[in-house]
Structure formats: structure tokens, C-alpha cells
Amino acid sequence: MDTRRRFLSLSAGSFVALFAGSAVSACGTGEDQAGNDGTPRPGGRLVFAEPTSPIGWDPQVGTEDVLGLILRPVFDSLVSETPDGRYLPWLATSWTVSDDGLTYTFVLREDVTFSDGTPFDANAVKVNFDRVVAPETKSRYAKSLLGPYKASTVLDSHRVEVTLSRPYSQFLHAVSRPYLGFHSPRALAEHPDSLGSGGQFTVSTGPYVFTSVVQGQQAVFTRREGYNWGPGTARHTGRPYLDGYTVQFVIDDQSRVAAATSGQIGIADQVPAAQLAGLRRQTSVTLISRDVPGSPYTYYLNTRRPLFRNADARRVILYGVDVASITGGLFQGQYQRAGSILSPSTRSYDDRLASSWGYDRARAERLLDSLGYTGRDGDGYRTKDGARFSLQFPFATANTTSERRNYDTAFQAELKKIGVEVVLTELDAPTYIKRTLAGDYDVSGLAWGGSDPSILGNLFSARSLVTQGGGNKAWVDDPELEALLDEASRTIDLNKQNDLYRRVQARVIDQAYGLPTYVAKRSLAVRPTVHGLEFDSAGWPFLYDVWASGA
């Protein structure tokens, strides 16, 4: 039941999706998925299945990854971003940035209309951006994307100027996301309360129109007649190839994948590790596995708790759990053990770090001895003055996948072997949030997406504590680490920046602020009838270029 809800500051911190596109690796029979398989032809529909559905359909409000993925072909952006981090025109033909970095001026295309006929102009940009930051909108993600947004000024019908309150180098990245796409000004005026309902209530400029939605079942999209303003990153211009696409929501992994192998649907997203090996042998689908950039699933150790103030107590966990063998057994060799707090497809990943630490049961037990946990109680747990070495590990049902839950159980069993007790408590979301904000836990599991190493600041800076909307779940307050992070965020030179972030990774492992576990892959099962499938800078299937062959 993974809602894959992203944390706000996460993508605001990621800047260029450097490796997202290049990390594609095609496996299985159909190696060639790059679209060179014949001449694209118009027509046909694509059905793809996602495990979860967004909770609302307004991209300016919602936060989910899947929301952006599904609505990307409905909402155009001002600019388009290439997988290697350059920006190309889209709804804006050109743009300029003032020397102080505070003013962005966009020149807009003049032939663009919303699907209700309303022309797309400078005013449309202004009313949308103003709506995103308005408190009544209750934006949970788009607002943070806009960052230090101050105001928009309409210069003339197709020129708009956006002013910021401080320099913000991620601004172009922000406006390239679907979360900052544009609702028709008429829709904003006529049914402002229904924008979250999706379907006909969603009116934008994209190549596809949101036709209908059945909550929790499927969402249907139809080709927009007369669309001729595709992004600069696309391989073709003019109309999209497909007549439409349908997204089905199938939470059960087995069923979702079976639907693809039996030809019910074109693409099944999020294939679980357990099925990868079996699917590779199948000819009915091609498997596309992509590394997920960001920080892998990690057990953060709460440094505010008396027990974990001591770095050696944290090292018991770092060395006492055999993550390589859990990963191997549970995922049947499909995923690799994580060697650092960043995954290998993330820029600045330190590939030498993995060999510097690893499972060492003897060392963990020596550490326990030196900490004074020399006693044993009836259940076999280590004790010190009668008190167990016991860890509270609460988690929320809503954002824990079964893969992670299994991993947590293995983590618990593994630590039991060295006499450390882990108390796993499953909570509903509100209670979980309360406990997390109060710091009432010893261990907390978290993965954090994003292709830019600046996410490390969100995870370990004392300014990004969870109480401040950050992801510092270990409550780290480490001056040395802080200095490294500060310097990295000021450094423009990429080599220097990479070096600083490598030192951050080494420091995190040395201090055992967390135990990184496994590097997950995002795998899609794709029918041979689906052609031209590539991935945009966010790592989402780029449907505008996709076409279908008969069958």
C-alpha cells in the first residue's frame, strides 16, 4: 500500500535530473525499445497499470509521483528539461534571467490554446502561479517548487515576468514539472472547487485531454485535436501518435503484472522484485528496469535518543545486520545491497565507500560488550543492568510497501540473533506522523527520491529536522557534516561539489547515522506492441512519442 507520496522538500532540492535518463537499461528479449523499431504510426490506445492512484487530481495541489506521471501528457510546461539537465523551449519560446537571478522573463508561444478554447497567454501564467502560492489552494508540493516566488507581471499578451525574493537556481527545473502546469483560467474561475476531481474538470493545454476518471479504478485520456506545441525534448512534432491512453489502478502486484503478460494492458509499472526473474524468461513482455536515483531505503538511527547518542551503539546496527544476504534472499538477486546513503545512479555517489563497511557480527558483538550489554535475559536479548538493548521502530501502513515490510521483519530477526530487540509497531498515518514529529522512535525507515546529491542536505542538515518539514529523521546535528553540506550548496563547480558530497557520504557511514539497505529498481513490463517508449528527465514514460503497433 505504498502511496509513494513524496516529501515536499525532496524535489525542491533536486535540481537537474542528471542520470535519470541515462540509467535506463533494457533487459529481456526486446533490447531495442528506443523507438527505432519501424516507422511510427498514428492510432491505437495504450493502457498502463499503476499500483496506486493519486488521492486528488490537481497537480498544483497533490504531491505524488504517480500524479505527475499520469498528468504529464495533459499539462504542458513553460520549458522542457532534457535528461542531461538542459532546458529547451515548450510553451515558452525563449526566456531571460536577470543578472541578479531575481527576474525571469518568458516569451510565450502565441498559437497555444486550452482544450476549452481559451487562449494561453501571459495572464494564464500569472493566475496559475498566483493560485499555487495562495493559502486557500493548500498546495502541498507545487508551492514549494515555486520557492521564493514573489509575483508575476504581465508585460504584454505573451510576455510574462516572474520575480523572486532571492536567487533560486532551480527555478527553470521547477517550471518544467507538471506540478506547475496550467489550468485554463476559465476552469479556475468557473469550478475552482472541482479541479481535484479530475476528468472533464481538468482543462489544460497538453496533447491529451482528461476524459474521465473512476476513482481507484481507471483514468481515461483522449488525444487533443490540433495540438501542435510539443516540447523541445520530443522526437517529433504535431499530433501525438496514440488516440488516447488509459491508466488502470491495480494495487496487487501479481494481478498487475499478469494483466501485462496476458495482453490485457500495454505496460505494468512497478514490477516487484519477486517477479523479475520469471518475467525475464517470458517473451510476452519486455522488462525495462531502471535504477532509482536518490537515497535508498535506509534505517535512520535517532541520535536524540539516549541509547543512540553514542556512535558505537549506532555502529552495532551498522555492523550487526547482514544487508547483503537479506537483499539476496528476499529479492532473489534482483536488487543489490546499498553501499552508501546515495544510490549508484545519483550524481556524487561514492563507489569506494561500499567496501569500507559491511556485516561483521563479531565486531557488533564486541561493541555490545564494550557498551556494557553483557547480560542475557530469558528471551536471549542482551541486557545492561537488567535493561534490554531494545529499539522502537514505528511505521505507517500507508507508506510502507510489502517489500519494505518484509525487509523490516528480516532486520528485526537479524538483530535478534545478536541479542538486540526491535519492536516493530504498525501505526495509522496520523499517529505515525505524531510520533515522528515528536522524535518518539529509535529507528525509522525512509527512502528519498531525487537525482541530485543536494538531497543529502535534506536528510542530514540540522536545519531540515522533520519538525521543519525536512527529512532528517536521525535528528543529526553534526557541525562537521553541516560545514560540508553548507560548502557544497554554495559550490558551483561540479567536481568540487561532488567531492564534498562524497565526504558527506563517508561521514554518514563513519558516524553510523543510518544503515542503507538495498538499491531498488523501478521495473516496467512492456508489451511488444508498445513502441518508442523513452523516459523524460523525471524518469516517467514519455507518452507523447509513444506509438502502438496493431495486435
Binding site: D322, I326, G329, S402, L424, E426
Partner: protein
């Protein structure tokens, strides 16, 4: 969830199977019940292993001599987990029925013995509860008091109270209106006395039947709640939780889900057969 149906049946049904077969079924059922009780009380009689020991080198093993029910995604022995799971699942079912019967007796007797107004109010309350399908009611209770075996037992027990209350009230009503209780009342015998002396023994027969079958239903319902993600927390080897766990691997490792399910079927079947046979004997 056939408590209500059994209500209809208690008074009318002829035995499901007759004659010698019936005795054989009764014997077999009793033997099985003893086996289940033994497994519940002393799981180590049937398996040497512990249910939550993982072995990451032996994950997803299919059934074999060393692992008769195979191993799961964490390399735990499914047979060992099914055996150890008996305690949680059976205790949850028994606990739920005790709560349901207890609440039902209380509500039913009070309703039957008290005056028209109290009876009317209580029965309307029971009507309200009956308007919720049992599973929905249990779902609500678990959502309020949280998950875990004890809470699941409480939820299912509470959901069953209105059904038991109706049965008790119906049976008790007839007895209370009977001549000898009327007479006792006339002699000034206090209500608790004639309720426990005369009314309760008369209600006991149908209650035992219902309780037996109800335990099976409760075990099923508890497993259902686990599947919906509201049962006891991992890694406890509760049958429903194991089923839910294994659902994910149905295509690749069917044994993880199938064996805990078979255990539920076996227990429910045994309890139903026994209940029916007791009922059949009582009628004759």
C-alpha cells in the same frame, strides 16, 4: 459469518448426516478438535523450530521433506509458522465468541426479564447493530481501538453480540413466560435466581451449538481482517496475516498462502461439524 443463519436453523434442522455416519463424524471431529487444542497449547509437540527464525539463504523453497510446507520470502519454515499460528488464530476465535456470548447473555437476559420499555430500547439498539454487516462493524471497531489479536477478538466479539443477544432473548422469553417461572416469580423468587436456575440452562443448548459454529466464523473473520491489513502485527504467525503475506507471491510461491488457508478451512470445518452434531443430538 453464518451465526444468523444458524439461528434460523437451531429450532428446525434435522441432522446433517444420520445414523452411524453421524457418530463417525462426531468421533472424527472430536479427535481433530483434540489435535487442534494440543497444537494450540503445545506447538512444540509438532515442530522443533521457532516461527520467526529467518534464513536468507533458504528463501522461497518449495515443499520438501525438510520443509513440508516450503519456506517463505524470509526463509521461515511455513509449516512451523502454521503450527505456531494455531494459538493466535484459535485464541482469537475463542476470545471473540466468549465476548459475543457473554455480551449476548447479558443483553438478552436483561431484555427478556426487564419490562417492555427496557426491552424495547435494547432491542432497537440491537436492531441498529444488526443493520451493519458483521464484517463492517468489526472493521469499525478495529479502526477505533487499533489492530492486534486482542483487539480483533474484541471487535469480532462485539460484532457478534447482537446475534447472540437475539437468540438468548428469544429463548429466554419463552421460558420466562412459562408456567413454572411465572409461579416462581409469584412466590417472590428474585430475578437473578430464576434467570440462572431455570432460564439459562434452557438457553444453554442452542448457545453451545452457536458458539461452536461461531468460533469457526470468528476465526474466519479474524483472518479476513488480517488480509485487509488490520490484524496482528508482523512477524506474528497469524494465519490470516500469513495468507496476506503470501498473496503477493501466489504466482511464484503458492505454498506461502495456501497452507495457512487450509488450516483455517480445517478448523472451521471441524467446528461446524461438531456444532451440527451436538445440535442434532439435542433435538432427538
Amino acid at each position: 459469518m453464518s451465526v444468523e443463519l444458524e439461528l434460523e436453523r437451531v429450532a428446525t434442522a434435522p441432522p446433517a448426516l444420520v445414523g452411524r455416519r453421524q457418530r463417525a463424524v462426531l468421533l472424527a471431529g472430536t479427535v481433530l478438535l483434540v489435535v487442534f487444542a494440543a497444537v494450540m497449547l503445545f506447538p512444540s509437540l509438532l515442530t522443533a523450530g521457532a516461527p520467526d527464525v529467518t534464513d536468507t539463504a533458504r528463501t522461497f523453497r518449495s515443499p520438501s521433506l525438510t520443509h513440508p510446507f516450503g519456506t517463505d520470502q524470509l526463509g521461515r519454515d511455513v509449516y512451523t509458522r502454521v503450527v505456531h499460528g494455531a494459538r493466535i488464530s484459535l485464541l482469537t476465535g475463542i476470545g471473540a465468541v466468549i465476548i459475543g456470548v457473554g455480551g449476548g447473555i447479558l443483553l438478552g437476559l436483561v431484555s427478556a426479564a426487564a419490562g417492555r420499555v427496557v426491552d424495547g430500547v435494547l432491542m432497537r439498539f440491537v436492531d441498529v447493530l444488526l443493520a451493519f454487516p458483521e464484517l463492517l462493524l468489526a472493521l469499525l471497531v478495529v479502526a477505533i481501538i487499533g489492530r492486534g489479536s486482542a483487539n480483533v477478538a474484541l471487535a469480532i466479539g462485539l460484532a457478534a453480540v447482537p446475534h447472540f443477544a437475539r437468540l438468548v432473548r428469544g429463548q429466554a422469553f419463552a421460558v420466562i413466560r412459562s408456567e413454572y417461572v411465572e409461579a416462581a416469580r409469584g412466590l417472590g423468587v428474585p430475578p437473578w435466581r430464576y434467570l440462572t436456575r431455570h432460564v439459562l440452562p434452557n438457553v444453554a443448548g442452542p448457545l453451545v451449538v452457536l458458539a461452536s459454529i461461531g468460533t469457526g466464523s470468528a476465526i474466519t473473520a479474524a483472518a479476513g481482517l488480517s488480509i485487509l491489513g488490520l490484524g496482528p502485527a508482523a512477524p506474528s504467525p497469524e494465519w490470516g496475516a500469513m495468507l496476506a503475506d503470501g498473496q503477493e507471491y501466489l504466482g511464484t510461491a503458492w505454498w506461502i498462502a495456501v497452507f495457512p488457508g487450509l488450516a483455517v478451512v480445517a478448523v472451521v470445518l471441524t467446528l461446524t461439524l461438531l456444532g451440527r452434531n451436538i445440535q442434532a443430538r439435542a433435538i432427538r
